[in-house]
Structures are given as C-alpha cells and as structure tokens.
Amino acid sequence: MSHVNTQAFSGRRHLSDGRIATFFIMPTLVLLILMNVFPLFYSLYLSFTDYSVIANESPEWIALDNFEKILTTERSRYWHNFTVTGQYAVFSVGLQVIVGFSLALLLREKFKGSGIITTLILIPMMLSPVVVGLFWKLIFDPSKGIFNHIIYMNPTAGDQWLANSTLALWAIIIVDVWMWSPFVMLLCLSGLGAIPDYLYEAAAIDRASSWFQFRRITLPQVMPLLTIAILFRTIEAFKAFDLVMGLTGGTPGDATETVSVRLYREAFLGKFKTGESSALAYVVLIIIIAVSNLYIRSLNRMREG
C-alpha cells in the first residue's frame, strides 16, 4: 500500500502545481492575445494610414491626419455620431435606472408568485437585440403597429416614430429601456436584499421618516451595485449596434446613426475606409476602456467586500 502511495506522490511531483497552472491558463491567454490583442495593435498601425481594403495600394503613412478628421471641430465628420451616442447613453441609462430601481423597490417584499413575476420581467434582457429591434419596427409602424394604438387616442393621427428624426432616437431609447431596465432591477434587488434589517429598526426607533430612511439607508446601501449597473449599461450604450441596426439602421437620414453604426458603414459598406475607421475605432476604444476600468474596479471591490 505504501508503495502505491509513494508512486502517486512522485507522480504529483512530476507535474508541479505551477506547471499545471501554466498549462491550464496558457490556452486561454494565447487565444485572447491572438483574437484581441494582436488585432488591436494591427488596427492601431492602420489608424495612422490611409489604407482601404478594396484599393490595391499598400497602406501609406499619414500620421495623425485620420485623428484630426475625427477630433478637431473644423474637420470632424463624426461629431454628429458622438452626439447621438451620447444622448442615447444619457437618456436610456438614466431612464433604466429610474424604472429599474422603482421596480426593485416594488418587488422588494416577497409575495406569492413574486419569483415568477421577477423572471417574467427579466425575459426581454435575454433576447437577441437585433431580433428585438426588428420586431419593434413593426410595433412602431404608424398604421400596422400596436404602439400608436396603445399610446394615442386617435392612432391614425399619431406620430411616425421611426420616420421622424427626433422621435426615432426616442424609439430606440424606449426599446432599450424596455430591454435593460430589468437588468438594473436585478442588481438593485440584490442590493436591497443585502441591507441588514437592524438599520431600519434603528431608524424606526429614532422615528426617522421614510424619506429619510430611503435617502440615508436604502440609497447608500444600494449605491455600489447601482454604480455597477450604470457603468455596465453606459459601456453597452456606447457599443450600441445590434438594436439600432435592427430597428432603424441609422435612419431617418443619419438621425440615429450611433458611432458603432457609422463605423460599420465607413469600414464595410461600400466605402471601405479602413484607415480612417480604424482611427475612429480607437477613439471609441479609449472611451470604453476608460469606463470599463471604473466598471471592473467596482466589480472587484464588490467581490472582495
């Protein structure tokens, strides 16, 4: 018996823990470096060139010209897209926080069937954004869709949501709020569930008003999770592509053309301005990396705390 044990022991020696760790982690790192890091360096190089995929010329170095086209006010061709994305991000994330947090407050105390109701509310979040966008297109249709029939007293005189350049962005925001408020709700619910009861008991003994309890206990206790939700949704809003493509594709005109949609059009549809769109991609990337930095930090704080 002892003989077997020694063998096993020496076998373990053979494949040390450190080596196992390396073997286990390497494939993941290699794949991620190949598929993410390398392409990013490649496009960093391209962003300083005037390369186009369809032209048969090799890339020519034009230094910062691409970035000048994007960032300087006189020459910017993309300012509009950044404004649209910014508006979209601010309004949809803001509304999601309000709706999601209110839903969480309503669902805070369990009742019979609250579990099923919560899950039902969560369904939109799991759906494919492009399919959702496409389908809401029919819902928003002024004559065939149900949206105007629900909203207006006189549906036929209602607005043409997707054909009106101001309302089209709001249509996207409405769908985004419909899809992602449940996400905020889910995080807030978890935050609310973790608030210790004794805080409220102490407040009740001190005859604190319910507004005071909300402002001084509920809000600060939920804040870390709400921050995570806000950051995550902000990142996603800056990436907005699937939903917009399904719902409007950037139309009418370029009224709902978010940065990602513009990027897609510049890089792939007809124009194939690879160099310039790589530069635009980098600008977007820097914004997103800044926000995700905050996001991952707060996730880590949550994990350790």
Binding site: P27, L46, S128, L138, F241, S278
Partner: protein
C-alpha cells in the same frame, strides 16, 4: 364626457383596480373579524367601484390635461393623482368599518402603525398587508405590460400575411402556419391555371395545401434552415471550447498562486468590453489573409474568444465556492492534482459549468455584429439573416415573427431554468444572489 385614454388603457386600469381591490380588501376585513369569503366578495365590489371612480376622475380632469399642454405628461400626472386620491380615500374609509366579534385587535403596547420595512410585527398590520397587495398588483400589471411585445410577436407568427399587416392591428385572428412555412421553405408564385392544376394533385401534404391557399407552391428548403444549422454548429462548438478552456483557467486562477493574477483577470475581462465593430476591422483583414473569412473555423475561434472571458470569470466564482478541504483531503489520500481536479472538483462544479454553458450558448446564439461583418453565405448564422427574410413585394412580417419566435423560445426557457443564476451571469460571477 369622455375618458381621455385609449381603449387599451381603460381595460388595463380596470383590471388593475379589480386586482388591487380583490387582494387588498380581505386582509383588512379579516383584521376586523369578518370571514375571508366576505372579504373577497367585498374586494370585487371595492375594485369595480374604485375603477369607476378612477375613470370618472380622469374624465373630470380633461381640462387639467389640456391646461398642462403636453398631453402625455398631463395624463400621467392626472393618473398618479387620481390613483393616490382613491387609495387615500379607501384607507380613510377603512377606519369606519365596524369591528366584528372575533376581531384581532392589536395587543397592548404593540405598534399601531407600521414602523419600518423589516420589523416583524408590522408585517401583520392590515395597513402593511393592504399596501403590499397594491404593490404586488402594480408589479403584476407592469410585468404584463412588459410582456406585450413578446406576446404580440408570438401572435404575429401565427397570422396570415394579410392579418399580420392589418390596420388597425388584429387582436383576434385565424391562426395559420403560413409564417413558419414561408420562413423555412422557398416558394414560387403560381398563376390561376397552375393553382387549379395543383389542386388536382393528391401528393400534397399539409404545408403545400396551406401555401396553395395563397397561390404559392413550395419549391424546397429556404436558406434560413441552413442559417439555423450554422448557428447551432458555431454556437455549440464555440460554447464547448470556451467552457472547457474556461474551466481549466478558472481552476488555476482559483487554486494556485498565479503571478500577476489580478492583472491577468483584469485583462481577460477587458477583452469582453471591446465593441465588436472595433475588433472586427483588423480581424476582417486578418481572416481574409488566412482564408478564414466566412468559414466555420473563423467564427468558432472568434466566438470562443468572445465567450472565454465570461466563462473564466463566472466559473472562477463557482469554483471559489467549493471548499479547498475536499481536494486537500484527496491529495493526502494520494490523488494527484489532476486526479483531484477531475474526480473531486469537476463533479462539485457541475451546476456552475451547466449555467456557464447555457449563458455562453445564448451569447453566441444571439450574436449579430461579428456574424454580419465576417460571414457572407457558407458560415452565416441566423441573426443577421432574419432581417433579410423578404417576400415578393414587402416584408413578410409573419415570417419574421416566426423566425423571431423560434429564436426566442429557447431563450425564454433558459431564462426560467437559470433564474437563480441570472444575476451571476450578468455580472460575470461577481455578485451572488442571496
């Protein structure tokens, strides 16, 4: 005098008031010592009456809405004020109900009004219970509102081509499988003579007959079937790969002292944050050079990388929860690290692995941007091809709805199956549900 609301909302609010009355009245009456059944009966009455009062208030408030200027804002304000008034009125009315013989009076010295969220005694107070019933009614009605688009999609999938685009939209219609058939089969338009000829034939199955009503003959399977198959192959393989690689990496991160662990994990997660459009431009060029454009292998590699960061983080959370003592005991018993990992840790982590698998599959299944830009035909998946299901002369909404429905049903089932893990899934395993 008209109620300034579209028909839909009149029905909606009526249901709400009956629901609220029905659930909020019994606890109050029971507290006063009346039987439960009487509470239910009276609840219906209270619901109907408060619904009627609500509509009356709205009708009276028409000038207020006009005064606000913006119809939407005005209506919302009036609705909130009216609901508040009714609930406050009912609350006041409650005090006039005489107590019956066996009433459950509040014990001497106990709080008479709710003191807070959590104190146990206040949860049996009728005020609290009634408020909770109203809260629950609001939530149920909101959930119903949320589901309307999904239900509408389900209904449209079974509509005929003309019903799907009827104006005003049809709520009641004759169900047909037309949408599904148009989605899955290619058709050819027939002229009247051909239709007559086709009707004579006796080798037609039900699908042919349905389409013949529309004057079309089925000519074969549509491209969509191929796309669905592609979706399954690509999502399935990449999920498998990312979970296998993910579980290895997660185990290593969880159990060993990996130098620079924090930074590595940070790096892994940050790859997930990259916008697909940004990554696609260089990958497109790279794939074109390597001959991976529009190939299964290319898409599988990409989706694996895309899901890997997620699966490493989620699985690390699950493995962290398995006590180290199990493995340590196994190691003392002479297992090697690998044996301990395979025989002790993996069986313990099976729920976590299953949840991760399903989440990864859903992400790959729903993915649109990469597929749109990096595939053309051979490896194209379903999401980018649903928008292009166009019929002869206009968009075939029934077919699109059928495609969407087929796409959504698995996701809905999964949402239910995974509801305990949803929070973990969406926060990369950082936050656990209580």
């Amino acid at each position: 005098m008209t109620i300034p609301l579209p028909d839909f909302w009149i029905v909606y609010f009526s249901i709400f008031w009956v629901l609220a009355g029905l659930t909020a009245t019994p606890p109050v009456l029971r507290h006063k010592g009346y039987p439960f059944l009487l509470g239910l009966l009276l609840g219906v009455v209270v619901g109907v009456v408060s619904g009627a009062v609500f509509m009356l208030l709205l009708a009276l408030a028409k000038p207020v809405i006009d005064a606000v200027g913006n119809a939407a804002v005005g209506t919302v304000i009036v609705i909130l004020v009216a609901a508040g008034l009714i609930i406050a009125g009912l609350g006041a009315l409650k005090n006039f109900i005489p107590t019956s013989g066996a009433s459950m009076t509040v014990a001497e010295g106990a709080p008479h009004t709710p003191v807070g969220y959590s104190t146990r005694v206040d949860k049996v107070h009728p005020n609290w219970q009634a408020a909770q019933s109203i809260r629950a009614s609001v939530v149920i009605m909101l959930a119903a509102l949320t589901l309307i688009p999904v239900i509408w999609m389900g209904m449209t999938a079974f509509k005929s081509r003309s019903d799907a685009v009827a104006s005003p939209p049809k709520v009641i219609f004759e169900p047909t499988m037309e949408g599904f058939i148009s989605l899955l089969y290619d058709r050819r338009q027939l002229n009247e003579q051909q239709v007559a000829e086709y009707k004579q034939r006796d080798d037609l199955d039900w699908k042919d007959k349905v389409m013949l009503e529309r004057g079309q003959a089925i000519t074969g399977q549509s491209d969509y079937v191929k796309r669905l198959k592609n979706s399954l192959i690509i999502a399935g393989t990449s999920t498998l790969l990312s979970v296998v690689l993910g579980v290895l990496a997660a185990y290593a991160f969880s159990r060993f002292n990996v130098p620079g662990e924090g930074d590595l994990l940070f790096f892994i997660l940050s790859t997930r944050m990259l916008p697909p459009v940004v990554v696609t431009i260089p990958i497109f060029l790279m794939y074109r050079e390597l001959g991976l454009y529009d190939k299964y292998l290319g898409m599988i590699l990409l989706y694996t990388a895309f899901n890997l960061s997620f699966s490493v983080w989620l699985l690390k959370g699950f493995i962290d929860e398995i006590p180290r003592e199990y493995e340590e005991a196994a190691l003392v018993d002479g297992y090697t690290r690998l044996q301990a990992f395979i025989q002790i840790v993996l069986p313990q982590a099976v729920t976590g692995i299953a949840a991760t698998t399903v989440f990864s599959f859903i992400f790959a299944w729903n993915e649109y941007a990469f597929a749109l830009m990096l595939t053309a035909d051979t490896a194209r998946t379903a999401p980018p091809s649903i928008p292009s299901v166009l019929g002869t002369g206009g968009i075939e909404w029934a077919a699109i709805a059928a495609g969407s429905l087929g796409f959504l049903i698995p996701v809905v089932l999964v949402t239910f199956a995974l509801r305990r893990y949803l929070l973990r899934g969406v926060t990369f395993g950082a936050i656990r549900q209580g």
